[in-house]
């Protein structure tokens, strides 16, 4: 086929993306370095020297890190269990994990407002069995955000890991056991290393997802700001577009650093090299 035909197939999509994604993103990043026509890094200096901004960044990173670790700890065993099931049961459990993933984040965060609220389900049950005397203040704290985010991203890591674990040859486990490894050792030395690529992809998805999530922190975080709600606040409520652009750029940079680092780690840890 002639080259020209190939380009004609790709061109409309590329033009569209360039016009409506590449240029807007590139211009947003560029705009942070220019103020009244001259080059400046003032926006970044402002951000990096203000304790309030740094606290928001710190909270965001903390929340994302805890969410990622919790998702790994909770998701890994569950994924292992699911990957070992027969096709029927596996299909059902995967469908049950995919369903929340396809459900609106507004719905999912709202469900946690019902549970974690001051008069919510959690408090009223704990009060009624006498475990606590005063309602716990969980909603509108970083803890609430973490719970919401774990709920949001746990299915993602589970289905990613199941996808990877399914492809691990079960004979490898048998071989390890026949060579004298205990079930646990075999799991640790065969399943875990072979799952690492999937684990890293899953962790990237969860970490970057938590870092940039908007709905869940907006609903469950209350006045607690994370970087994405801070971006929204600067852009819409405060109308400080220069600052919002700086935050947007910082978010892009962090995202790409995380993806880059994790990919590097993946190639390093991948037993296949």
């Amino acid at each position: 086929m002639k080259k020209i035909g190939l380009y004609l197939l790709l061109l409309p999509g590329l033009l569209f993306l360039t016009l409506f994604m590449v240029i807007p993103i590139a211009m947003t990043i560029l705009s942070t370095f220019f103020q009244e026509g001259s080059f400046t890094v003032e926006g970044y200096l402002h951000f990096l020297t203000d304790p309030y901004f740094l606290k928001i960044l710190w909270t965001t990173l903390q929340v994302s890190l805890v969410t990622t670790i919790a998702c790994i700890l909770l998701g890994f065993p569950a994924a292992y269990y699911i990957s070992k099931l027969g096709p029927r049961k596996k299909g059902v459990l995967l469908a049950l994990a995919i369903f929340p993933l396809l459900t609106s984040s507004v719905v999912r965060s709202f469900s946690w407002m019902i549970i974690l609220g001051k008069k919510g389900l959690l408090n009223s049950s704990l009060l009624s069995i006498g475990l606590i005397e005063k309602p716990l203040e969980i909603l509108y704290t970083p803890t609430a955000m973490m719970i919401g985010l774990i709920h949001l991203f746990l299915p993602l890591i589970i289905i990613t890991l199941v996808g990877v674990m399914e492809n691990i040859d079960p004979d490898l486990l048998k071989a390890a056991e026949s060579l004298g490894a205990s079930r646990f050792t075999a799991f640790r030395q065969v399943i875990v290393p072979l799952s690492v690529p999937g684990l890293i992809i899953g962790s990237i998805l969860v970490f970057v997802g938590s870092l940039t999530a908007y709905t869940t922190p907006a609903l469950l975080g209350g006045k607690q700001r994370v970087i994405s709600t801070f971006l929204y606040q600067n852009a819409i409520t405060l109308n400080d577009w220069q600052m919002a652009s700086v935050i947007a750029t910082i978010m892009i940079v962090i995202t790409f650093i995380v993806i880059g680092l994790m990919n590097k780690l993946a190639t390093k840890l991948n037993p296949k090299g």
Partner: protein, 262 residues
């Protein structure tokens, strides 16, 4: 060994309780007859389901969401099918780079994309709000459309296409009569997945909505900020039912395995 498996089964059960419990709770509370969300509900009533239809903004924004998702989907198909076809059919220089470009909208944080689009698509390009929303959702859907269709093209035997061409059918005719029908289920699945992505989107829409134009999730967010009655719970149930139906169709068309691949 059995013991350990049982432990693992119990653990997995609790994980699924954690994942689905909140959705079950929100469903049950939607039948609360009172004006405050309670669990368990103090009776059974469908008044909040009726209320969905009485809050005019819900109907209006549902309509907007539908139009934007469907029209954006159509646009994404028009742009995405040729690109997916070119990317899976031909070997050429820069292919992996172009692949990355077409997938890139999922790598940019949604909230950043929304803000950049507000700045350039709405303000600089002066697109009307409705058109801006449509464009934003098309960019959002494009990677999903391309990925799913490319994956069903990778299962398509291009020898059949060659056969059709050698029998004298033109390229376009072959594509229309041979390739397209063969990947039909992939295309429908792509449309449904992209639809759900767009219909549920908050990050981009939150910047692209303006006076008189809003999408359902944004309207729900606004409503939750001001009211805490069970209307949102009822609306959530309706949305979940739609999700289940679409999931069922996706499963029928291509299996749910799409979701386990990264």
């Amino acid at each position: 060994m059995r013991e350990k498996n049982r432990g693992l089964a119990l653990f997995t059960f609790f994980i699924f309780l954690f994942l689905l419990g909140p959705l079950l709770i929100i469903s049950v509370t939607s039948f609360e007859p009172g004006t405050v969300l309670k669990f368990p509900p103090q009776g059974f009533s469908l008044r909040w389901y009726e209320n969905i239809f009485e809050v005019e903004m819900f109907l209006k924004t549902f309509q907007t969401s539908m139009i934007v998702s469907l029209a954006g989907n159509l646009l994404a198909l028009l742009l995405g099918i040729p690109a997916a076809y070119a990317l899976s059919r031909f070997q050429f220089k820069g292919k992996s780079f172009l692949n990355a470009v077409f997938i890139s909208p999922v790598l940019i944080p949604g909230i950043v994309m929304g803000f950049a689009m507000l700045k350039y698509v709405i303000i600089t390009y002066q697109l009307p709000i409705y058109a801006g929303l449509l464009v934003g959702h098309t960019v959002l859907m494009l990677p999903f459309i391309i990925r799913v269709i490319a994956s069903s093209l990778s299962n398509f035997d291009f020898a059949i296409e060659e056969a059709s061409l050698s029998l004298g059918a033109g390229r376009l005719e072959t594509f229309w009569k041979v390739v397209l029908p063969n990947i039909r289920s992939g295309i429908i699945a792509a449309v449904l997945i992209a639809f759900l992505e767009s219909f549920n989107n908050v990050d981009i829409s939150v910047f692209m909505t303006g006076p008189g134009v809003s999408t359902l999730p944004i309207q729900m967010l606004t409503y939750v900020e001001n009211n805490f009655d069970p209307t949102i719970a009822a609306l959530s149930v309706v949305l979940m039912i739609i999700t289940v139906i679409l999931m069922f169709i996706i499963e029928r068309l291509m299996g749910l395995s799409y979701f386990t691949k990264r």
